[in-house]
Structure formats: structure tokens, C-alpha cells
């Protein structure tokens, strides 16, 4: 992914333009961004791995990485995009580690227990949840990533485009196709209505 390479650089390279003067202190900015997007980063990683426990660990590691290299944030890109770029690289790295290391069994997801009570509703929810998981896993990688990023509620389409290094229209169409595919896959559940 060309975009990934580009953002890796902007995320890690120290500010080379200024020569003698050190990079401006952006610590506060980074700290605020970490707090602000922490949950979004976790939500994005959940979208990618489908496991909240793993998403939590990955998010913590990614945020720690971002914090440790806060000096390298140069303010040229949006700070949130910068944090997400680090999270994204961390996700790619973790896939690589997984591929070489021993395979872990994914944790069993608890069935979503919130919302309306009653065994029937719970069963319907669990069934729907499993179906969505299957449908998400079937999505092409690019679409799944775009959808996960947008559903994380941390970034706008424009910021995602910056992160992925593709035009915003491309991001939108990836999300659109992903959602339409999900809708098709979930056709058997069309009568299901969200209830609180």
C-alpha cells in the first residue's frame, strides 16, 4: 500500500525542514489527541480484527507508540490522522507477527447482552451479530479498512483519504460498496429493526 508507506514517513521522520531549531513542542496536542481518539482507535482495530480484547491491546500498544514518538509529530498533517497512521502501521505489523508466530485462537465473543431483554431478542441479536461478523470478514480488505476507519467515528472521509493516500471519493465508494454488500448479506434479517 503506497499510502501506508507515505504516512509511515510523515509519522516517524523528525522535522527535517528547520535545521537548527528543534521541532515545536507538540506534546500537549498529541496528548489531547490520544485521549480524544483513544476509543476511536480501538473501534477501528476492532473493525479490523473483530475481537474487543485484541483491539484493546493493539490500541494501547499503538497509542503508546504514538506517545513515545510524539516528538516526531511535525504538525504538517492532522494530529488525529497521525495517530491513526501509527495505529494502522501497528495493525499491519501485528498481522505480520501473527503470520510468522504461532496462531492464536480468537477469543470467544460474548454475545451482545445490552439492549432489549428476553431470550428471543437476545438470540436474534446473537444470530445477527454472527451474520454481520461473517459478512464483514468476507469484505475485500480495502473496503473493510475504509469502513472500519469511518465507523470508528474518529476521522472524516477527508482525513481517511489523507491517511490512505487516495482521493476522498474513493474512500466513500469503498464504504458505500462495503455497506451495500453487508446489506445484501444480511437480507435474511431485513425485518430486524434496531431497538434500544
Amino acid at each position: 500500500m503506497a499510502g501506508s508507506r507515505e504516512h509511515r514517513e510523515s509519522g516517524e521522520a523528525p522535522d527535517g525542514g528547520s535545521g537548527f531549531t528543534p521541532a515545536p513542542p507538540r506534546t500537549q496536542e498529541v496528548r489531547a489527541a490520544l485521549v480524544e481518539v483513544g476509543a476511536s482507535v480501538r473501534r477501528y482495530l476492532f473493525g479490523m480484527c473483530g475481537d474487543w480484547h485484541r483491539a484493546e491491546d493493539l490500541a494501547q500498544e499503538a497509542l503508546l507508540k504514538a506517545w513515545r514518538k510524539r516528538e516526531s509529530f511535525n504538525g504538517r498533517s492532522d494530529v488525529k490522522t497521525w495517530v491513526f497512521a501509527i495505529a494502522r502501521n501497528h495493525w499491519v505489523d501485528s498481522l505480520r507477527r501473527r503470520a510468522s508466530g504461532p496462531r492464536e485462537e480468537p477469543m470467544i465473543q460474548e454475545s451482545p447482552a445490552n439492549g432489549s431483554s428476553g431470550p428471543r431478542a437476545a438470540a436474534e441479536r446473537a444470530e445477527l451479530s454472527a451474520a454481520v461478523r461473517g459478512a464483514v470478514e468476507k469484505l475485500p480488505a480495502e473496503q473493510r479498512e475504509a469502513l472500519s476507519l469511518r465507523e470508528s467515528r474518529g476521522l472524516t472521509f477527508r482525513q481517511i483519504a489523507e491517511l490512505l493516500g487516495v482521493p476522498a471519493a474513493t474512500v466513500k465508494s469503498r464504504v458505500r460498496y462495503a455497506l451495500l454488500k453487508l446489506a445484501d448479506e444480511l437480507e435474511p434479517f431485513r425485518d430486524w429493526e434496531p431497538r434500544s
Partner: protein
């Protein structure tokens, strides 16, 4: 707009990224196009399903667990842990609301615009807009217990202010100073929360004083009262004082630098104010005298400790807009009192003083038989300045505060109960009345109190005593008088100055209770401190009577010359002798005290009853003159009774 264009924008609409105009266009098209509406419904259904898939999402998230503050301390932030759960919950709630809204729209065909705010996240920023401080005067009985900055005492306090000169201990949630009046003030802090989101918000409010009374904290919206509800209010005051940090490090690793010895690193087993017991790894425990300790190094600030007390609210904002709100609370550590300086002007010789001298011998032995009306009143000129002395030991600096000082002694428990009782009474009354009666607050007199409002904002720093001018009067006319009351002093008459608190007299503002210091010019004209007294709260147009010391040149004696009881009848005669050694004439008011309610009195000069059991007579005394005043009374013990009225002193 054709279907192709609309379909490109549906995704923006779905995620709330259209501006109002675009949104209207898309909605207009959707109204008339079943196909596009169908696509939107499919997209929406997929998003709703994703929300179900995400349902196991944890509600809180600890970002970096202390790492953010472990390496540097650029801001005095308290907890080494951020909780983003509430923002998260807020976001999820809003998202759910939008999903439901869309479902409703799709089912019923009614329009419902998605709110853009669903995408906003981040801590609520609050900006101070205005600050008002109302400091109460000390309750009766607490005179002389005005809070004073004092050097920090030995160890043992739970927490203390950073300035280390004021110490409070926590006592069942109430911070109580060491004895005496610790001040009481109402703080009204108006803040603007520009990015308050719709739904749940966490607002952290720093800079609250250590002496805050947490149960008096109130928060209300100033511009949309119904739209803001408080779900939870927390006062976090586990401060990172040396004692608290030590306490949290029991069983943890610390490094102690000791004078003349190598540093000790080990587990802290226990501590008291004299020793630390540390067990270095692999060795036995070692006791270290705290006197020898140079420094203790801790690994990091333990979680949950704050560097400043903090108020944390969970607010539910029903309106999707910024909110200006007001936080009102009462706190200790802020007190004020009034101090007056009365400077007598250089003495004007009382009229006729020089001329009166030759006649002095002639009036000898007058015994008051001939009233000497010729003695003029002695008038002194004086300048009065009243200061409000404000002391801030609350631990917080109040910048640009509107300062209001409240005077009055209403409804505080006076004789019984502890200081806490007084605090509670005052606190409840004032918090209730002040928080709810905003308009009246502007008035000068409020309920039974008087408010002194400083016209300009002022900054009251922590650990500062500030004096602000309260009242001034120039050229006040003081009437000098002499009062002889043997029950106060058997041999001398008291000097009393009397003036009216009126506009004609250069005054005319209510004068709060306070200490008056009198300065008088000495013969060389330099102002010399003469005497000190106190005045009570004095309304406008009331007379202020200032008792000073006793007159040097007026000698007085008192004796009972006859006392006779026959059956129920009781008769008594008293005789006062007064000698004026001044070179000018004076009028001395003599006081006879009669321990009866009804009696028959008789005096050799005109007399009148001032109050029950107190008889007064004015005795004019020419220079060098001696006067004898006799007063006798007859009373029936059965009908007159003994006098036990509170008026009788």
C-alpha cells in the same frame, strides 16, 4: 440533482458530512425517489447491523495508564489516567439515537435531519466568564479568632495548600481549621462550555479551594436551565500531599536519600512522623529517622491522587449547543473584617476654656444647686477610614473576582454548638438564598444583611491579606462626653465620642462591625495611637458611640450614705463627688444603677431614667469645680421586686 449525484452523497448524508444546503437538496430528491430511498434504507440497515456487531464494546478506556504523565509534568493535571468512557458512551448513545431516528424516518416518511454533533468528541473545555465572591463576616462570639496565616505545624495534616502556610484537616468531609473562625464565602464561578455536546458530558472543574464545603456545590445552566441535568457530581480531593503519597507507597518501592549515608532503596513498610521503615531487597527492614531524610524518590504519582481538588460532573446536555453555566459553592479560608482608623484632628481648644479659668474658684461648692448651662459641648473633628481586611487562606487565587462582603449577624447559633454548627447554619441559609435570589444579590441590603460590593474586579491571591477601602468620612464631628459609672470604674470617668453615621457628617453608609483604632495628635502634632475599641453593625443615621479610655483630669468618688430597710420598705442614698481638674469646663454624665423596677427617686440635680434600673444625670463642671450629686430612692420590696432584667448590668 439526478439519482447518480444523490447516490454519491448518500454516504455523506449517512455519516453527517453534508452541509445544510446539500442536505436539503438530497432530502428533496429523496422525497420523490423511491429507488434512492431504497438504497439509503439498505445502507442504513447495514450500519444498524454493524452497531449490533460492535455491541460488546467496553464502556471505558484507559489511555496509556499513567504513561501520559509518567515522563513529564507540563501541566498540573491530577489523575494520571483519563477516562474516555463517558465520551464514548455519549457517542454511542447519540449514534443509537440517530439510528433510531433514521428508522423512524424510513418507516413513517417524516423528515429527521441527522445531527453533525455525533462526530464531535473530546474533553469539554470550560472557560471562566465571571467570578463573584461573597465573603461573610465572622459570627458573633468569634471575635479575635480571625484566621491568621500561621507557619506550618508539624506533620499530620491530611493535606495542605501548596503555599504551606495554612493547614486544614479533613473531618468527616468537612475541612476544619485549628480552632476559631476559618472564614466562609460563597463563590460563584461562571464558565462557558463551548464544546458541550448533546448527551452525556464529563466536566472537570479544577481550581476549587481545599476548604470547599462539597455539599454546597451547585451547578446550573445560565442560558438554558431545563436543558442541563446533573447525573452525578463528584468532589475529588485525594491530594498528592507528601503524607498522601507516602501512604499510597506502603508496600511499594521508594528511594530514600539520607544525610551522610548512601541512599536506601527498598519497600516502604511503614512510617510515622519520626521514622520510615524501609526494607531493601534481600535485607532486613531498616528504620530511617525522618530528620535525616533529605529526599524521598517515588517511582511515579500514584493513581487517583490529584494535585488540586477537582469537581467532576457528569452532565446531560439536552440542547445541542454551548452552555454558559454557573458553579456556586461555599468555602472556608476566606474571611473579612472591618478595621477603622479614626484620626482626631489637631485639638481645637474648647470654646471659652481660657476665659473660664478665673471664674473657676467662684463656682466652688456649687453642688449642682445652680445648673450651669453655660458649659458648651466639646466637639472634636476627626477623619475616619474604614477598611475591609480580606484574608484568603483558601488555597486558591481568585482572579478578577467581583468582591462582595456581607455584614450581619442573623440567625447564627450564638451560644451553643460548635463552630461547625455555625458554619452549617450560615452555609445553608446563604447558599439557599443567594443561589436562588440573583436579582436581590445586586442590592445593597439583602435580607437582614448588608452587602458591600466592590465596584471593580479584584484579584485575591492565595495566602494574601488585602485591605480595601470600605467607608471614608472627612471632618466628622465627634461630640466628646464623659460618663461616670462606678460599676465600670469607681474613680474615673470614661471618655466617650459620639457621632452620627449620616451624610451630613461625611458618612452615611452602613458600617459593619469592626475594630476602631483611635489616633490623636500629640502636642507636636504627630498622630499617636491612643486607644482601641470596637463598634457593632451601625446602620445609617444611627449614633455611633465609641468608648475610649478614662479621663485623667476628672476625679470621681462614690459612696452609699444611707441604706434603711423597714418591713418591705427599702430606701437608699448614694453620693458621687466629681472634681474637674481641667482648665476648661466639661459635662459629666453620671449613672446610678437602681436594682428595682419601680421606685421613687430623688436627686439634687435634674435627672432622667435611661432604661430600667439606670438613672442618668448630666453634671456641668466648670474648670476646677467640684460637684456633689446625691440620688436616693425608695422602693417596696414586694411591689418593686428585685430587678433581673437583661437591661440591668
Amino acid at each position: 440533482m439526478n439519482c447518480q449525484e444523490v447516490r454519491e452523497q448518500l454516504i455523506d448524508l449517512l455519516y453527517g458530512e453534508l452541509d445544510d444546503a446539500q442536505q436539503r437538496q438530497v432530502m428533496a430528491h429523496l422525497d420523490g425517489c423511491d429507488a434512492c430511498r431504497g438504497e439509503l434504507r439498505r445502507l442504513q440497515r447495514a450500519r444498524s447491523a454493524l452497531a449490533v456487531f460492535r455491541a460488546g464494546e467496553p464502556t471505558t478506556m484507559s489511555v496509556l495508564k499513567g504513561e501520559l504523565f509518567g515522563t513529564e509534568r507540563t501541566e498540573p493535571a491530577g489523575r494520571a489516567r483519563f477516562r474516555v468512557g463517558h465520551w464514548l458512551a455519549a457517542g454511542a448513545g447519540v449514534a443509537a439515537a440517530i439510528i433510531l431516528g433514521w428508522a423512524a424516518w424510513m418507516l413513517q416518511g417524516t423528515k429527521m435531519l441527522p445531527t453533525a454533533s455525533a462526530e464531535q468528541t473530546g474533553p469539554v473545555e470550560i472557560k471562566r466568564v465571571a467570578l463573584s465572591l461573597t465573603i461573610l463576616s465572622a459570627p458573633p462570639g468569634s471575635e479575635g479568632q480571625y484566621p491568621q496565616p500561621r507557619p506550618m505545624a508539624a506533620q499530620g495534616a491530611e493535606y495542605q495548600s501548596e503555599q504551606m502556610d495554612y493547614q486544614v484537616t479533613v473531618n468527616g468531609g468537612q475541612a476544619l481549621g485549628r480552632g476559631g473562625w476559618q472564614g466562609l464565602a460563597l463563590v460563584r464561578d461562571q464558565r462557558l462550555a463551548a464544546n458541550l455536546r448533546k448527551g452525556a458530558n464529563e466536566v472537570r472543574f479544577k481550581g476549587v479551594p481545599a476548604g470547599i464545603l462539597p455539599d454546597t456545590v451547585r451547578l446550573r445552566s445560565l442560558d438554558f436551565a431545563d436543558g442541563l441535568t446533573i447525573m452525578e457530581q463528584n468532589y475529588q480531593y485525594d491530594l498528592a500531599s507528601a503524607a498522601a503519597v507516602l501512604k499510597k507507597h506502603v508496600d511499594k518501592q521508594i528511594t530514600v536519600s539520607v544525610k551522610d549515608l548512601p541512599a536506601v532503596t527498598g519497600e516502604l513498610l511503614s512510617y510515622d512522623h519520626r521514622n520510615l521503615v524501609v526494607r531493601p531487597k534481600g535485607e532486613g527492614p531498616r528504620s530511617v529517622s525522618r530528620e535525616k531524610v533529605r529526599a524521598i524518590a517515588f517511582e511515579k504519582l500514584p493513581e487517583g491522587l490529584l494535585t488540586t481538588p477537582t469537581l467532576v460532573w457528569q452532565l446531560n446536555n439536552k440542547a445541542d449547543r454551548k452552555q454558559q453555566f454557573e458553579v456556586a459553592y461555599m468555602t472556608r479560608g476566606l474571611a473579612w473584617r472591618a478595621d477603622y482608623v479614626l484620626k482626631l484632628r489637631p485639638a481645637v481648644r474648647p470654646a471659652g476654656a481660657g476665659a473660664a479659668k478665673p471664674q473657676a474658684a467662684g463656682t466652688q461648692g456649687a453642688e449642682g444647686a445652680k445648673p450651669q448651662a453655660a458649659i458648651p459641648d466639646i466637639m472634636d473633628g476627626a477623619d475616619l477610614v474604614g477598611y475591609a481586611t480580606v484574608t484568603n487562606l483558601s488555597g486558591v487565587t481568585y482572579e478578577n473576582a467581583q468582591l462582595k462582603l456581607m455584614a450581619g449577624d442573623v440567625n447564627l447559633i450564638q451560644d451553643e454548638g460548635t463552630v461547625i454548627h455555625r458554619y452549617k447554619q450560615a452555609q445553608e441559609q446563604l447558599a439557599n438564598r443567594l443561589a436562588e435570589a440573583r436579582e436581590q444579590f445586586e442590592e445593597k441590603s439583602f435580607f437582614e444583611y448588608h452587602l458591600y460590593t466592590l465596584g471593580r474586579p479584584t484579584t485575591i491571591r492565595d495566602a494574601e491579606t488585602k485591605q480595601i477601602e470600605l467607608v471614608t468620612g472627612e471632618g466628622i464631628k465627634l461630640k466628646r462626653g464623659y460618663v461616670y459609672d462606678p460599676s465600670v470604674n469607681r474613680t474615673a470617668a470614661r471618655v466617650v465620642s459620639e457621632f452620627r453615621n449620616s451624610e451630613e457628617n461625611g458618612l452615611g453608609k452602613p458600617m459593619p462591625k469592626g475594630v476602631v483604632r483611635l489616633y490623636a495628635p500629640d502636642p507636636e502634632g504627630a498622630q499617636t495611637y491612643v486607644s482601641q475599641t470596637s463598634i457593632d453593625h451601625t446602620p445609617v443615621n444611627e449614633k455611633v458611640r465609641l468608648p475610649w479610655g478614662f479621663a485623667f483630669d476628672i476625679a470621681c468618688t462614690a459612696k452609699t450614705t444611707g441604706s434603711r430597710t423597714a418591713g418591705d420598705e427599702h430606701a437608699e442614698t448614694r453620693e458621687y463627688e466629681l472634681r474637674n481638674h481641667k482648665d476648661y469646663g466639661v459635662t459629666v454624665t453620671v449613672i446610678f444603677r437602681v436594682p428595682r423596677t419601680t421606685y421613687e427617686g430623688e436627686c439634687n440635680i435634674p435627672w432622667h431614667v435611661r432604661e430600667v434600673g439606670v438613672v442618668e444625670a448630666d453634671v456641668p463642671l466648670a474648670p476646677g469645680a467640684t460637684a456633689k450629686v446625691t440620688f436616693s430612692y425608695k422602693a417596696n420590696n414586694k411591689t418593686g421586686g428585685g430587678l433581673k432584667s437583661p437591661y440591668d448590668k
